[in-house]
């Protein structure tokens, strides 16, 4: 399985029927396509609505119905539009059950860096509010950088998005839950050993006896 597909499918299993969810741009957006048949979630879009639907048929685009990345989408029955203050009241006020976001670095404390790299500080958009406000923060990212360096580090070196807010981290190598004791390795990708994952991780992982293989 493509590593990114593994991530997306595994994250999809975390979402429960009826939940209000905000999916970040890019990889997280793909999660919506892989939900179990009996799970319907309500997507929140920080540009001002709930009930985000599928992309419209070609030619049926409405320029006033776009997602937070500016792509044409639709609104499902029961969805509603509102202004940006209401949108972030919903986000910051704890009315979003889960958010799924990409990451550049996650560290031992559950700190997340996902909006800026050195010399490229071009805006956090709604990410900081989402990570602080959503009831559950799920980070979906590849375990290593493109040149093989760890992204799960002792201490984030990149500008932070928020501190100690990550609840679950899903990568192409495993699933890590952030607890008050620290990051716990819960699952490993098919074909890998615990040692493989630990070796690819700079942060010190807590490894319980019952680590299982990721199933999607």
């Amino acid at each position: 399985m493509d590593p990114r597909e593994l991530i997306v499918k595994r994250v999809a299993k975390e979402l429960k029927d009826g939940q209000v969810v905000n999916l970040g741009i890019g990889l997280p957006t793909q999660v919506a396509k892989h939900l179990p048949e009996d799970v319907r979630i309500i997507l929140q879009s920080e540009n001002g609505f709930v009930g985000l639907g599928n992309p419209p048929a070609p030619g049926a685009e409405d320029p006033d119905i776009v997602n937070a990345g500016g792509q044409p989408v639709t609104i499902n029955p029961g969805g509603t539009f509102f202004d940006s203050a209401m949108s972030f009241a919903i986000i910051r006020g704890g009315h979003v059950d889960a958010t799924v976001l990409g990451g550049l670095q996650v560290d031992e404390e559950g700190n997340l860096a996902n909006w800026a790299t050195p010399g490229k500080v071009f805006g956090m958009g709604g990410a900081m509010d989402l990570v602080v406000g959503a009831k559950r923060v799920i980070v979906a990212m590849e375990h290593l950088t493109k040149d093989g360096k760890p992204k799960i580090v002792k201490r984030c070196s990149l500008p932070l998005t928020a501190t100690k807010e990550v609840d679950l981290l899903v990568t192409d190598m495993g699933v890590i839950e952030f607890t008050s004791d620290g990051p716990v390795l819960r699952e490993i990708a098919p074909g890998l050993t615990v040692d493989d994952v630990v070796a690819a991780t700079e942060a010190t992982l807590i490894v319980p006896d019952d680590v299982v293989t990721m199933s999607v």
Binding site: D17, G18, V20, R40, I42, Q44, F49, V50, G51, I75, P77, G78, G79, T80, F81, F82, A85, M86, F88, A89, I90, I91, R92, G93, G94, H95, V132, G133
Partner: protein, 216 residues
């Protein structure tokens, strides 16, 4: 999935000692049917957050006559002699809040803000015990969020997804309170199928509403 509930179901969680918010302004826009049911159930020691104490025979004003209120947080009690008598004889505790500050404190809770800075009340008894900050030569009070265990909301129209539309001056505190409680019950004179309300006309997104009760 519908949020339509019987009134018994919708109010089953209401217990002695809870903090409740009730929409309305001198009982205009008050969820009368829900309040009457609270009187019938006889739960006690409630903390009521409402704009005012209404009149003894109208809306949430009845909760004073029935002796169910332990504390009220409101902006005005001048039209309910029962509430005044209970204040004067110490039966109820009263926190008086300027109306605009009351609105913002409720909104802050629903929006995940830690509070707001307002010039209202500076130099009056309202400032007692509060932190003051000076910004740009003007003094502001730090006013803290107000949230509730349950909010009781009066809508004109709802749908099965919990989306609410209010009517005319019956809107008042209802949309604010619908964001600021752990459990939100709305009575509605009309309940439509999900999707029948124009998404641009929804005033409270259904995602924050837990139960809708149809009233005649």
């Amino acid at each position: 999935m519908t949020k339509l509930r019987t009134i018994d179901d919708a109010l089953a969680r209401l217990t002695d000692g809870m903090t409740i918010m009730v929409g309305g302004f001198l009982a205009t826009g008050c969820p009368h049917v829900l309040v009457d049911e609270i009187v019938r159930r006889g739960v006690r020691d409630l903390t009521l957050i409402a704009n005012d104490t209404a009149m003894p025979d109208r809306g949430y004003g009845k909760l004073f006559v029935s002796g169910q209120i332990k504390k009220v947080i409101c902006s005005y009690m001048g039209l309910n002699p029962t509430s005044i008598a209970q204040k004067l004889d110490g039966t109820i505790e009263v926190e008086l809040v300027p109306q605009g500050t009351l609105a913002e404190r409720i909104r802050a809770a629903g929006s995940g803000l830690g509070g707001i800075l307002t010039p209202t009340g500076v130099g009056t008894i309202v400032e007692e015990g509060k932190t003051k900050v000076e910004i740009g030569g003007r003094v502001y009070l730090v006013e803290l969020p107000l949230k509730a265990d349950m909010a009781l909301i009066n809508a004109a129209v709802a749908d099965h997804a919990g989306n609410l539309v209010y009517r005319k001056a019956a809107r008042n505190f209802n949309p604010l309170m619908a964001m600021a409680a752990d459990y939100v019950v709305a009575q509605a004179a009309q309940v439509k199928a999900t999707g029948e309300i124009d998404p641009d006309h929804v005033m409270t997104p259904g995602v924050v509403v837990d139960a809708v009760v149809e009233v005649s």
